[in-house]
């Protein structure tokens, strides 16, 4: 039942972005299309609209907010032809390419809409340090473990939607430099940690005890990528608590 309500909420949130939604182009998008759309958005649109699409007043592309209601077709046309007498330029994109950006924006708006609870960064910091136990793997401004990615500046490089997704589904989008790895020595001992690099003959890790370790592959029985050890906070944190943590993470912009 709860799942149905959530799905409905996402659907409603997605619809909220435009008065008349005609998902002609976006309805068949695949996950790969969304990735393509995100890449194109970052390369082309984010320069002016910002990485979250919210840097132009009155427009929040990441949340489906425009100055007037827009259909998908409207958006595709604007991406391709621009808006005369405004800084919005025309692009060389095909209809298909523009459609992927629209699909990405719509999917992003849906995700954000689902958790559009206003977060409190101070509460988020408390959760980060206590209930979330985030510092047991992550470091912020010199405190916490180094095993997970350092989050001191995560707010400057990741949007709120990405942060929320990382909290709910940590393995959905792991950056290559944050991948985890396990080596098994010939005596059966295993060492796990964040992969710092590997080559034909050697592996380098920051292990779970924060030790820089290097192994010759010839000395290993097995070496393999493993899922991120980060737990999902989907059920352990409430929607409000998730929003608070996201708000706190978004505020981390040191360095």
């Amino acid at each position: 039942m709860r799942k149905i309500i959530l799905t409905l909420a996402i659907f409603m949130a997605a619809l909220a972005g435009s008065a008349v939604r005609t998902p002609v182009y976006a309805q068949h998008e695949t996950a790969a299309d969304l990735v393509d759309g995100e890449r194109a958005f970052r390369q082309t649109c984010a320069n002016c609209h910002g990485p979250d699409g919210d840097q132009i007043q009155g427009i929040d592309l990441g949340r489906g907010r425009f100055r007037r209601p827009m259909t998908d077709a409207d958006l595709v046309r604007i991406i391709r032809t621009g808006i005369p007498n405004t800084p919005m330029p025309a692009t060389q994109m095909t209809e298909e390419q523009a459609s992927k950006i629209v699909a990405y924006l719509r999917s992003r708006a849906a995700t954000v809409g689902a958790a559009s609870v206003v977060g409190d960064a101070a509460r988020g910091k408390t959760l980060f340090d206590s209930k979330g136990a985030c510092a047991s793997c992550h470091r912020v401004n010199g405190s916490g473990s180094r095993v997970g990615p350092d989050l001191s500046a995560v707010g400057a490089t990741r949007g709120a939607a990405e942060l929320q997704r990382a909290l709910i589904d940590p393995n959905a989008d792991v950056q290559p430099q944050n991948r985890f790895y396990r080596v098994t020595l010939k005596d059966g001992t295993t060492v796990e940690g964040r992969l710092l690099g590997h080559d034909t003959f050697n592996v380098q890790l920051l292990d779970n005890k924060e030790q820089l370790r290097s192994f010759s592959k010839a000395d290993l029985r097995d070496a393999t990528f493993i899922p991120s050890p980060m737990p999902s906070y989907k059920t352990t944190l409430s929607a409000q608590e998730l929003a608070d943590v996201v708000s706190y993470l978004s505020s981390l912009r040191n360095r």
């Binding site: 010199g142 180094r146 350092d150 001992t189 003959f201 820089l212 000395d219």
Partner: protein, 536 residues
């Protein structure tokens, strides 16, 4: 049988996990207790550059093999001495990137990238001589005069502070000195109109704790040694590593030339504390004593050599001394507790003095003139900044230097070379270059000196000069090299050549040694790369 298996398993576990623990100051101070590591620029705060490792010996050194090479993404001279802590090596990719390498394989763990401000333009190369470590934090002084703290495990920046303004021609290239909870650095740039200083920061917070101006201000003793307002812009940079003596809680730094370099007419006087060693209280930065090697220098004889501290028998009694092969061509033995001048003697051809008074002040006999005066050694010196070494086993002081370098000193002008070859004592470069000097012109040489007499016990003559240092091991091997691009192993007792390796580029650094899982390595930077050798 079962016992053997357990023992073997334990051994394997020990070998595969060389745990990296916090580098306390106690460890740095007593780094000789853990010869597998190299915890500061010259090994310990005594700066003897003496490795206690003995696996590589005069008998087997001929079998050394290259284990790995690490190529820097840099076209600059590679002057850094790496640190090694529990199997992890840290060095600097010039100008100011830090890299953490697996010391056994040379494979990188991480790289910390730093882009210095374009104003950071040291006189003589965008170089760096290495990082320091305390706890699990690395410290690096940058060419745009920042001091950075970087996490040793993750390569993430901890803090970044401005020591001086690069736009005012300050720069920093030396490895910082760690004393207790402090990071102590000096500023370079003394060929320009700076006023040099040494400054201590809290290692945790970066808070400034004390500052010592290398040129005294009005009302301070020594200010009267600068004519007029010349003290304000008199240079006296500090651009090489310092030393620390726990017995007296004193730190020691060599200071640079007075500015302007060649024209002393506007800064009449001795120009304290230029071309000196200053002994400061490590807690307060207060001057305890000083000794000026070259009063009123007009030949750029920076005294920014690495102070080497040794406890030796000298003239029949145990003394705590400081050994110093100076750029001015003279070698010194000073009492490091009192600053007393014990002995001084030219170690290369030097004609600018003919002796010392009772207190050790040199009697200068050559001066720049309008027509030009032939003065030895050259402005680049008999040696320059490269680190020497001392072996408590052999009792010898090992210095890589160059002989026969002279200059024609003309009042107020950049001095000319003494011979037809005006590139006779060229600066270090990365790549190999043709060499044309004849035997009357400068050549490179590694010598072992007896501190009692300052007589050379042996020498190994090279062709080209050297900007590389020396390192000595507890098996009496001396490692060195120079501009002609050979990494050398010499017998520390006789100077006999025991092994050489062509490294394809000039050596502009001191060697160091460490071990991982019981295997001894010797590392040397040459060209733009770092090389590690070990027995098969």
């Amino acid at each position: 049988m079962r016992l053997r298996i357990v023992a073997a398993a334990l051994l394997l576990a020990a070998a595969s996990l060389q745990a990296q623990s916090q580098v306390t100051f106690d460890r740095i101070l007593h780094a000789d207790r853990e010869p597998q590591n190299w915890l500061s620029y010259s090994g310990t705060p005594m700066n003897q550059r003496y490795s206690g490792l003995t696996q590589i010996t005069p008998a087997n050194v001929k079998n050394l093999q290259l284990q790995w090479i690490w190529q820097a993404r840099s076209l600059e001279k590679f002057e850094a001495t790496p640190l090694v802590i529990d199997g992890v090596m840290y060095t600097v990719e010039a100008p100011n990137n830090i890299v953490a390498l697996d010391a056994a394989s040379g494979r990188p763990f991480w790289t910390f990238n730093y882009t210095p401000a374009p104003e950071g333009r040291p006189c003589c190369g965008r170089v760096n001589r290495g990082v320091a470590i305390l706890g699990d934090t690395l410290y690096m002084a940058t060419i745009d005069a920042h001091l950075l703290a970087v996490d040793a495990k993750s390569g993430q920046k901890v803090w970044d502070l401005v020591v001086a303004k690069a736009a005012d021609r300050y720069s920093m290239t030396a490895s910082p000195l760690i004393v207790k909870d402090k990071v102590i650095v000096g500023v370079g740039g003394g060929d320009g109109p700076i006023r040099g200083f040494i400054v201590a920061y809290d290692a945790k917070t970066g808070k400034e704790l004390w500052k010592f101006n290398t040129i005294p201000g009005p009302g301070e003793p020594g200010n009267e040694t600068w004519a007029g307002e010349s003290w304000k812009t008199g240079g006296v940079g500090v651009w090489n590593a310092g030393a620390y003596d726990p017995d007296t809680n004193m730190i020691f730094f060599g200071t640079g030339n007075p500015a302007p370099d060649w024209d002393g007419s506007a800064r009449l006087g001795d120009n304290l504390y230029s071309d000196s060693v200053v002994a400061l209280d490590a807690d307060s930065g207060q001057l305890k004593w000083h000794y000026q090697f070259t009063p009123h220098d007009e030949l750029d004889y920076d005294s920014t050599q690495v102070p080497v501290l040794a406890d030796i028998q000298f003239q029949g009694r145990a003394r705590k001394v400081m050994l110093w092969a100076n750029r001015n061509g003279v070698m010194y033995v000073l009492d490091r507790t009192t600053g007393e001048f014990l002995k001084g003697k030219p170690y290369v051809k030097a004609n600018w003095l003919d002796g010392f008074d009772a207190k050790g002040r040199p009697n200068r006999v050559k001066f720049p003139s309008k027509e030009g005066t032939l003065i030895y050694p050259h402005v680049h010196g008999g040696t320059n900044w490269a680190p020497p070494s001392f072996s408590p086993r052999t009792g010898l002081f090992y210095v890589a230097s160059w002989e026969n370098s002279g200059t024609t000193a003309i009042e107020g002008q950049f001095p000319k070379a003494a011979t037809a070859n005006n590139r006779q004592t060229a600066m270090g470069q990365t790549n190999l270059v043709p060499f044309f000097n004849d035997d009357t012109e400068p050549f490179g040489v590694v010598r072992g000196f007896d501190p009692q007499t300052l007589e050379k016990k042996w020498e190994f003559k090279m062709s080209d000069i050297t900007w590389g240092g020396t390192m000595v091991t507890a098996s009496d091997l001396v490692f060195s090299g120079g501009r002609d691009g050979y990494f050398l192993a010499l017998d520390g007792k006789t100077g006999q050549l025991l092994w050489k390796a062509p490294v394809g580029g000039q050596i502009n650094a001191g060697a160091m040694s460490y071990s991982v899982n019981g295997k001894q390595y010797v590392a040397i930077a040459a060209g733009s790369a770092l090389f590690a050798y070990a027995l098969p």
